[in-house]
Subunit: 271 residues, 2 copies
Amino acid sequence: MSAPLNRLSLNQMTTNQWNVREAVEACARHEVPEIGLWRHKIAESGVAEAARSVRENDLRVSSLCRGGMFTAATAAERQERINDNKRAIDEAAELGTTVLVLVCGPAPDRDIDGARRMVQEGIAAVVDHAGASGVRLGIEPLHPMFAGDRSVIVGLAESITLAEKFDAHQVGVVIDVYHVWWDPDLYAQITRAKGRILGFHVNDWIVPPPDHLKGRGMMGDGVIEIQRIRRAVEAAGYDGPIEVEIFNQALWDAPGEDVMKQMVERYLTVV
Amino acid sequence: MSAPLNRLSLNQMTTNQWNVREAVEACARHEVPEIGLWRHKIAESGVAEAARSVRENDLRVSSLCRGGMFTAATAAERQERINDNKRAIDEAAELGTTVLVLVCGPAPDRDIDGARRMVQEGIAAVVDHAGASGVRLGIEPLHPMFAGDRSVIVGLAESITLAEKFDAHQVGVVIDVYHVWWDPDLYAQITRAKGRILGFHVNDWIVPPPDHLKGRGMMGDGVIEIQRIRRAVEAAGYDGPIEVEIFNQALWDAPGEDVMKQMVERYLTVV
């Protein structure tokens, strides 16, 4: 059985050609009930305007991307990142979402273990602010190919281990099939994540990847066992939104309406 | 303390602009005592000619790349891959090396677990032939970004688990820093690999990677803690050759002599 339409969320990077209002209105037109928003998109017109647009179109905001980037060479820079994460938490609360997605940041030097400690310290520094704001922090483990430039937190196991240092009501993980599909221990780790899964992202891994950052595929165009992973995530108790998040230059160059139609069709048949 | 020169090996893909004879003679000129050979290079002039060239220049062959690619859609194709691995074993024996490096192959469809079983069956089908030929099989876990098109065996943990299904004298692992540096469990897994480490490859991870296949860096140009990993590998009992294996278009476009000089200098200062 395919995933139900009432759990579908458009992560707005899938339609990067659109601003917030355009993406929100497209969701309403296509009966997509949720949207995942990005801070740099929201910044174009401001949080209040984005929140109004979402309310007027009767959408839910599945998550806000992204907090994190806790790693930096100096204490002053790390404090600035912490301050920025508190602003992201405030924005998430204003948008009415309960999940802030964390992309944790790369090492500022060659000390990957040191950078991992910075991430833990960064989360510790903002977790109370998140709790007071009704926002949960979703650590998104990235694919290991991003360990050098985006996040030292790679692999689902590590993200769960990190989340477990905090209260389960406050810190969890966001599982994106693109980042974790290769993991020989994937299904055991999904089971282990029970009670901590705060989001689920779908897309596909094209073979060979046309580009590693902007070459994710539409569901069905690649080799990921998406349905198997979705069922495992559901068996671990997750019944929240399923965000379609696709960084793909070809999709960004296409008419957004075509992307929306294909996304809904593939969601109903492949996910 | 840096690694000793008598353990340095040129993996010939680092100087892809050269044929076997050119690479072998360059090793002799630069007092590099070992070379890692590739089958498609050897095929240009034949195994006997390559073996003669190595003998005449008093080199050792640290390993032959590559066997593996056990995965295929049909039983007939898988048998052909097995036959080809037996030929690779024969070539390794003729070249006087005791290690055949295995790059295990991608899934022929979306069934990654099924492909992993094919790999195990493939190794099982050639291991006796390898034993009779005095050749050991070194499973090289690839970076997870190659899981779709090169090898379903990714992560050091998985490669050790696979090797452990066979006799320790016959099947082990080859550790390449490019493929494993990101792993949060790396040092525990290196310790676990004790007695199974059949090779060690160095290079670097440039940030951001100019290309994921042909964008590996010269040691020192990236973010990998190469010396820390080397020491861990040595603490796990490995004292064999250290192969410099760099797939990098810019190096291939440069004069081979310059690459050799830089390789030796970086090996002595960075590795």
